[in-house]
């Protein structure tokens, strides 16, 4: 990868402060001090070159010097930094980096058995998901979860926190990621059904011409040569029976989505919302559908708000005012901060429902949104007055009068306080 620059091995090292180091006696410049403060046992040297606040070669020199003086030690090689080089903050990655073969190394802080187990798992990562978890294809969710927890205890990277496990850091992390993936797909009934359908389809289709990677390392042999050609993430995965069924579903989702967008363009919001919702059901991972859905939902909310306020207005004139209050409250559900509807709801809650608490809430909100509206102030003041809070009532009514000196009602209310 480009990030390693010319000195890949050094870049991949991760320094941390030696546990017995003595920082007090150091004579460092502020810049060096900052670099030191960024050394946390997680950040590889390649990254420190970028974030350390010093020129990269200066960073290397400092780290070298501190390591020699015993201030720093190196943790395992750590994950390769994936960032690019240079000032731009990104770079082009060469796509062909091959994974080096990993051998059993008794020097590392990971037991030989654990190394063996990790390599065996790593070699079998393209197996069907249930095999990775070591459960039957029809295992229940509880069994799947137990298997996942058990494997996590063995392969979670935290198990080797700060241990020098060399190349196994990568192996363990890769294995754990796939374990999580298997668990996620199999524990959700929807994705699990897909997995099973695809497994069945794959069993019928002729096997893909693909050399099986060795699953197990014979224990007697020094397992020096287990390795796989690195698969390009961008290419099709060799074991990927899911792809076909997913593609079908995605196509279906796309047609729903397009229908939805067409309806949207013509202002048929409800229909648009229905179609986009279907698209999401068929392709739940599609982020674009989800984000467009928000728009559509907003439009539907707008429409609903309009309908409800209209209905409420007519209830005010022709029907029960209690009904009207309910309708206005429902409308507020869609637009909680509409000042006018809040104001009307406040008056109704006070005069019709006789609920000054609720009334105060609506009135306060109306005033918050439009503090300069004398009518809203007056209503709030009258509600306070009805609740017996005279001082507050006076404050609001005075405010209403200041905003509209001609309001006789407000003046009368204020006088009667």
């Amino acid at each position: 990868m480009a990030a390693g620059g010319g000195a890949g091995a050094i870049g991949a090292r991760t320094p941390r402060l030696a546990s017995d180091c003595d920082l007090e006696g150091l004579d460092l410049s502020p810049a060096e001090g900052f670099l030191l403060s960024r050394i946390d046992g997680h950040t590889p040297q390649a990254l420190l070159r970028q974030v350390g606040g010093l020129p990269p070669d200066e960073v290397d020199r400092c780290i070298e010097r501190w390591a020699e003086s015993g201030l720093l030690v190196f943790v395992s090689s750590g994950p390769p930094a994936r960032s690019g080089e240079g000032d731009s903050g990104f770079g082009e990655a060469s796509a062909s980096a091959a994974r080096a073969p990993v051998a059993i190394d008794p020097q590392l802080e990971i037991s030989a058995e654990a190394q063996q187990a990790a390599l065996a798992m790593d070699a079998g990562l393209e197996r069907p998901y249930h095999e990775i978890l070591g459960v039957e294809p029809d295992a229940d969710v509880r069994t799947i979860k137990r298997a996942y927890f058990g494997l996590s205890k063995e392969f979670h990277p935290d198990r080797y926190f700060r241990r020098d496990i060399g190349p196994y850091a990568d192996v363990v992390e890769r294995v754990f990621r796939r374990i999580v993936e298997a668990y996620e797909l199999l524990s959700d009934p929807a994705t699990r059904a897909e997995v099973q359908r695809d497994l069945a389809a794959a069993a019928q289709a002729p096997p893909e011409p693909q050399p099986e990677p060795p699953l197990e390392t014979p224990a007697e042999e020094p397992a020096a040569e287990i390795s796989r050609p690195r698969k390009r993430r961008t290419g099709p995965r060799p074991f990927s029976p899911l792809t076909r069924a997913f593609a079908q579903r995605r196509a279906k989702a796309k047609s729903f989505f397009e229908a939805g967008m067409a309806a949207y363009a013509e202002g048929r919001w409800l229909e648009a919302a229905g179609s986009v919702r279907l698209a999401i059901a068929f392709d739940p991972r599609n982020a674009v559908y989800k984000s467009r859905f928000v728009d559509v939902r907003q439009k539907v909310a707008d429409v609903r708000f309009e309908q409800l306020t209209k209905e409420a207005d007519s209830a005010m004139t022709f029907r029960d005012r209690g009904d009207a209050l309910k309708l206005y409250e429902e409308a507020l559900h869609y637009k909680p901060f509409d000042p006018q509807v809040n104001h009307t709801a406040a008056r109704l809650a006070w005069l019709v429902a006789d609920d000054p608490r609720r009334a105060k809430e609506y009135a306060v909100r109306a005033c918050e949104v439009e503090p300069e509206q004398p009518e809203y102030r007056k209503t709030l003041g009258m509600i306070y007055k009805a609740a017996g809070l005279k001082a507050n009532a006076r404050r609001e009514l005075q405010c209403a009068l200041r905003l509209n000196p001609k309001d006789d009602e407000a003046r009368a209310e204020l006088k009667s306080l």
Partner: protein
């Protein structure tokens, strides 16, 4: 090997623990208290005070006493939360060079990580005195809903305090770890954490020492402080009603009211009614005025009912997020001092259909869990494992200002997710990838973590090119993002470096300044 500690850096109180012979020990401070107020002050004679010493002089020195600064850390000065705090805090909050809120007391300006660093340093000192040797490493907890900036700012605070932060973990998760260390059966548990400043709810699945977070939700701006404020408002309204004096403009009276409100609130957790008595709270032409009021539990409950109901809504969403019904939860654990309020216990009990678990100390369990995670990371005995999750969703901005999530919140890390995007214009040859974090569907409402451009896309009609965007989070929470044009194989990538509100130079300067100050103290 030097010892690792766990610190619960709370809005109101902080707590530090260490594992001794496999058992967690809560470390008392010099005064014998097991928690230390998260307060910092500069006294009239220029002394810097932390903890109980700062709290004791708060009433007479409210303008120079900082409390609840956790509510400000990692936020922008213009955010609604900071603006609200400016209205309510007796100390001065000013705009910092990076649009961060800074706190100005006794003529000196402090950044929020610096204040947190001072409190952490105090906790470190408490631990060192108890253990009898220097401590340099810690796990620190934060509210589950803290974003990247808030987390990184807390890490910076650790650095300022001279601590290497092994991990930042979520407060409710820490509580679950403490519980899971001793209760090893297969259970689904809910942690309801209502402290001084934040509310968190987490639902977890655990079995034999492995702890999986199923869902988390919360509100980083809701806590006991808000309960106190409701009581203060009530007292203000009543006093104004009776005496026609507005105490709102009198900082000293406000501070006394705030203290009395909290005390009354705590009283009402064990009694049905209490008296608030503040003699000589004010005066006017006709002489001194006293505030003397009876407050009963029912009134308190009606004052805060909507706050409590608000937590229920969040709990409901979280349980649903976990794919469960309330009845599926085997155990409910209440954490945080505010959960001592009977209304909270009743409400949580009613929601889950079972009484809360009694066996944990709500003030200490978070710090205990932090120490357990620290120990689990560094020790050889790997008996406890946290399957940690990303707290907030990650994704990219798409056309029209939308936010496309690639990694949903609560996803177990490490994780990698890819998704295919396309162009929106004909013959578009470059796309800008803006990496965002947050929950809003509107791109602009989320935090921008970084951005880069993928160019050299082969000219094609809109919607033609396929661009594969890959998100990767490693075990330490470091995010990297790459974009690949599938037809050419061309790829660009970045590693997103979490940043707090302080620049690198600023942190360094603060560290140096504090070193100077330490020297000054010693001399």
């Amino acid at each position: 090997m030097s010892r690792v500690i766990g610190i619960d850096l709370g809005t109101t109180n902080s707590c530090v623990t260490v594992i001794e012979n496999g058992q967690p020990t809560v470390i008392p401070n010099a005064g014998g208290y097991r928690t230390t107020p998260s307060m910092f002050a500069i006294s009239h004679d220029g002394k810097r005070l932390v903890g109980h010493l700062a709290k004791r002089q708060a009433i007479t020195n409210s303008r120079n006493t900082v409390y609840a600064s956790k509510r400000l850390i990692g936020r922008r000065f213009d955010s609604a939360e900071v603006q609200k705090a400016i209205d309510l805090c007796p100390f001065e909050i000013v705009r910092g060079a990076n649009d961060d809120p800074r706190i100005k007391i006794a003529g000196k300006t402090f950044t929020c990580p610096e204040i947190a660093g001072i409190i952490l340093r105090e906790m470190k000192r408490v631990a060192e005195e108890y253990i009898g040797e220097p401590v340099s490493e810690a796990v620190i907890t934060v509210p589950a809903y803290f974003n990247d900036t808030q987390r990184q700012s807390t890490k910076d605070a650790g650095k300022i305090a001279g601590l290497e932060v092994l991990r930042i973990i979520n407060e409710p998760t820490a509580a679950a770890m403490a519980y899971g260390a001793t209760n090893r059966s297969e259970e689904k548990i809910a942690i309801y954490d209502l402290g001084g400043g934040t509310f968190d709810i987490s639902v977890l699945d655990m079995s034999d020492g492995v702890i999986e977070v199923l869902a988390t939700a919360g509100n980083t701006f809701l806590g006991g402080e808000d309960f106190d404020r409701r009581i203060v408002m009530h007292l203000l309204e009543r006093f104004q009603e009776e005496e026609s004096i507005d105490l709102r403009t009198d900082p000293m009276a406000l501070q006394r009211l705030k203290d009395a409100a909290e005390k009354a609130k705590c009283d009402l957790s064990s009694r049905e009614s209490t008296e608030v008595s503040l003699p000589f709270i004010s005066s006017d032409d006709s002489g001194p005025r006293h505030l003397q009021l009876e407050l009963d539990r029912g009134t308190l409950e009606s004052l805060v009912d909507d706050l409590v109901q608000g937590t229920v809504k969040t709990v409901e969403a979280c349980v649903q997020d976990a794919g469960l019904t309330p009845g599926d939860v085997d155990r409910v654990i209440l954490v945080g001092g505010q959960t001592r309020m009977p209304l909270i216990q009743k409400t949580a009990g009613e929601f889950f259909g079972k009484g809360p678990h009694k066996g944990v100390n709500p003030d200490e369990v978070v710090a205990i869990g932090a120490a357990m995670q620290a120990e689990a990371l560094v020790s050889d005995d790997k008996d406890l494992l946290l399957l940690d999750v990303t707290p907030l969703s990650l994704g990219i901005a798409t056309a029209g200002g939308h936010f496309a999530k690639l990694i949903e919140r609560n996803t177990t890390v490490p994780v990698r997710k890819t998704h295919i995007f396309t162009t929106t214009r004909d013959n578009q040859t470059a796309v800008k990838i803006r990496v965002l974090q947050g929950e809003s569907d509107v791109a602009a409402d989320n935090d921008l973590l970084g951005e880069f451009v993928l160019s050299g896309i082969r000219p094609a009609p809109q919607g033609g090119p396929e661009i594969d965007v890959c998100f990767d989070i490693d075990a330490n929470g470091i995010v990297s993002v790459s974009a690949t044009d599938l037809s050419t194989g061309k790829e660009q990538s970045i590693t997103v470096n979490a940043t707090g509100t302080l620049s690198q130079d600023e942190i360094q300067k603060i560290i140096e300044e504090h070193e100077l100050y330490e020297v000054e103290l010693k001399a």
